[in-house]
């Protein structure tokens, strides 16, 4: 290549490059939400993960992974207050299969943590699995983190979540008295220490602050059964609707937006989703989200 051709080529490239890069980014940025349905919960969980490219895409050999279910309440599995143990176990298994060095499962519970761990069924189902930890929260491990958010300037977050290589958010889709629904964006509260009730006074902005600072690499929403009223803890089997669905996305806002439709609501009805969308944390416009039935 002589100098002239080189200059021409590089000139053309420098003109075209921004366009090309933008195109490439736009393609990558289209949010993908995978949905699977079936009564075999491990199978549908595996399906949605595979539709997103498989766990190997997120977990590299030797990684420390945090799998954060919602197990905040002392309720039996069928009451849809906690993430289904089979979904949790399958996610953990996939992480291990992808080469994770250690998988940590925990939640900062609302009821007595021992009862929550036992009666959610999660502690028991993970018992005996190698390189898997299901430990109770230890308060000294919360670290004050500067968030510089709109409402939360700083907050204590759990160091095991902060230091993990991969953070997988595994909420259950539930009604919530204040935020209408609790999904991926709200499940992040499980890594918060301190007086978490404080954020209720401005919960939408606070959750956007948190999620802006702390990213879930993968959000897997358990909608095998959902709690349609008296959330977030329920207690009445009549409020539970069995859907046999699992939803997954790397875009937490998109995952939440799609899950909202399961309740007959629109993403715009959920202030937390709207706040996160406005903050640029993801896509909530269902028309712009690619939904894949796995």
């Amino acid at each position: 290549m002589d100098r002239r051709t080189f200059l021409k080529a590089s000139g053309a490239a420098s003109l075209l490059a921004p366009v090309l890069i933008r195109e490439a980014l736009a393609a990558r940025e289209q949010s993908l939400v995978a949905v699977a349905e079936g009564t075999d919960y491990p199978a549908i969980t595996r399906k949605v993960i595979n539709s997103l490219g498989g766990m190997k895409k997120f977990v590299k050999p030797g990684d420390i992974v945090v799998v954060k279910p919602n197990m905040g309440w002392d309720k039996a599995i069928e009451f849809a207050a906690n993430t289904h143990p089979l979904v949790v176990r399958t996610v953990v298994e996939e992480c291990l299969a992808a080469g994770a060095k250690k998988v940590k499962v925990f939640d900062n519970t609302c009821n007595d943590s021992r009862r929550c761990y036992v009666n959610s069924g999660i502690e028991n189902i993970l018992k005996g699995m190698k390189n898997v930890e299901c430990k109770h929260i230890e308060t000294e491990r919360f670290k004050k983190v500067t968030l510089n958010g709109h409402f939360l300037k700083e907050w204590e977050l759990y160091d095991e979540a902060l230091s993990a290589n991969v953070y997988i958010n595994v909420p259950i889709a539930k009604h919530h008295g204040l935020s209408k629904l609790t999904l991926g964006l709200k499940n992040i509260m499980g890594i918060m220490g301190g007086s978490r009730g404080y954020i209720h006074r401005n919960i939408d902005v606070a959750l956007a602050d948190l999620n802006a600072h702390f990213k879930s690499h993968l959000t897997i929403i358990d909608a095998t059964r959902i709690l349609t009223a008296h959330g977030p803890q329920g207690g009445n089997i009549a409020d539970v609707k069995v859907l046999n669905k699992v939803i997954a996305s790397t875009d937490i806002v998109a995952a939440d937006a799609y899950a909202t439709t399961l309740f007959g609501l629109k993403p715009a009805d959920i202030p937390v989703t709207v706040a996160a969308y406005k903050r640029g944390l993801g896509e909530m416009d269902l028309g712009k989200i690619k939904i894949v039935k796995a």
């Binding site: 002392d74 039996a76 160091d159 204040l178 009730g197 209720h200 977030p232 207690g235 089997i237």
Partner: protein, 509 residues
Amino acid sequence: MKRTPSRISQLFFLALFLILFVQTEYRGKDEINAAVNTFFRVNPLVLFSYVLAAKSWTWLLLPALLMTLATLALGRFFCGWICPLGTILDLVTTRIRKTTPIKALKGNTKYWLLLPLLSASLFNLNLSGLLDPIAILLRGLTFLLHPLAGLATREAWVGLYHLIGERRDAVAPAYNLIHDNILPFRDTIYPLALFSTVVLLTIIALERFETRTWCRDLCPLGTLLGWLGRFSPFRRIPAALCGDCGACRELCPTSFDQKNLVQEECILCMDCQRGCPHERISFRPSLALKGAGPLQPERRVLLGGMAAGVLLAVPAKFRSPEQVSRLLRPPGVRSEDEFLKRCVRCGECMKVCLKSALYPAAYQAGIEGFYTPLMIPRLGYCEYNCTLCGQVCPTGAIPLLPVESKRREVVGKAVFDKNHCLPFARKIDCIVCEEHCPIPEKAIRSRAVTVIGIDGIARTVKEPYIVEEICNGCGICENVCPLETKSGIDIFAVKDRTPISREPSSPYG
């Protein structure tokens, strides 16, 4: 260390007591080991005061009845073979140099303790647990020594984290082993902790004067057992010191410092039999009552002691109304009077309480309620699906209820304090209480109302309200209220504790 049969038995029961003590904790199962309260259920002092006060019978105390019969037959063997406090005294006493016995405690002192307790029980004031040796030991362990052990270990564990951070995980299995099996899950600080421990240590310190000062001169359980045991045909032969020897005087841990053995103070350790240089001594059934000593207590002590109990029973009932309004009892306790007659203040419920909601009353329940359990919601709430306190209560003062019934039992009722509660006081959203309310139909609900904010701008806030008929007063709302100052919602005691009406669905509904 001695290896006599009685000492081996003592060590066995001390170990059993400690094992049952650390098992008095939620360890992943809804049902706790039913044996954890055994030492109270075999306790004749608990039985006598319960029957006198409640004027009724409970099968929970059948073991205590059997112990009473066994003591009638064999004598005061409990003190020398079983009592964990007696064992602790025997273990430490060899290291304590003796001065001279306290004269003032000799004679009738023990009856002046036992008789008022029993007669007050008859007049509905059951205070026997205050001086029951097993209760004294358990409270000392529960309120200070166990939390202290937990706290110390935990501080070291936290210190290690600040030192080496996450690398601490390498030794986590060792810590978890201790924490999960021996230490309390939560390191609760209790009122009366210091007092309870001082009482226990004072009893140990009394060993300075002579062996088993507490058991000889004070313990109401020992006194009761001794009194029952004096009718036992099973006794030491000969009943008096032999004229040519007198070695028993040195061998006996309790009372052989006079010519005749005082039958009600013999704890049947049989050390004299083993130590006799002439092999003259035996323990066997005998009808000879010769040399049994004067029948105690004397009539004036008997009558005086009983009168003292009556005099105690009335003024002890004073209570301040402000305190009573917050006097929240464990779930299932519907009548304060019936509760007080049955509660032995042993501390078991406070030890086992899942959320550390129960604390000993120091002044809140008056003299008659000293050491009785009360719930302090700001420190801990009653977990909806937990029935542990009813399971460990040795007398059924806290009834053992199936979880479906317990959920409906009323501890108190929640009331909002609108001067503090955020949606009312500051016109901003909160409703953490509604979120946590465990009643499936929600005893705390909220409605969206348009209000003028403190900035003068109209906005919509969710104002909470209480559905009183289905509030069971569990206290989780007061516990989780995010206000740092006083809670925006309080649980108040109510007289009518009829269970809430609606049937929650099960299990864990």
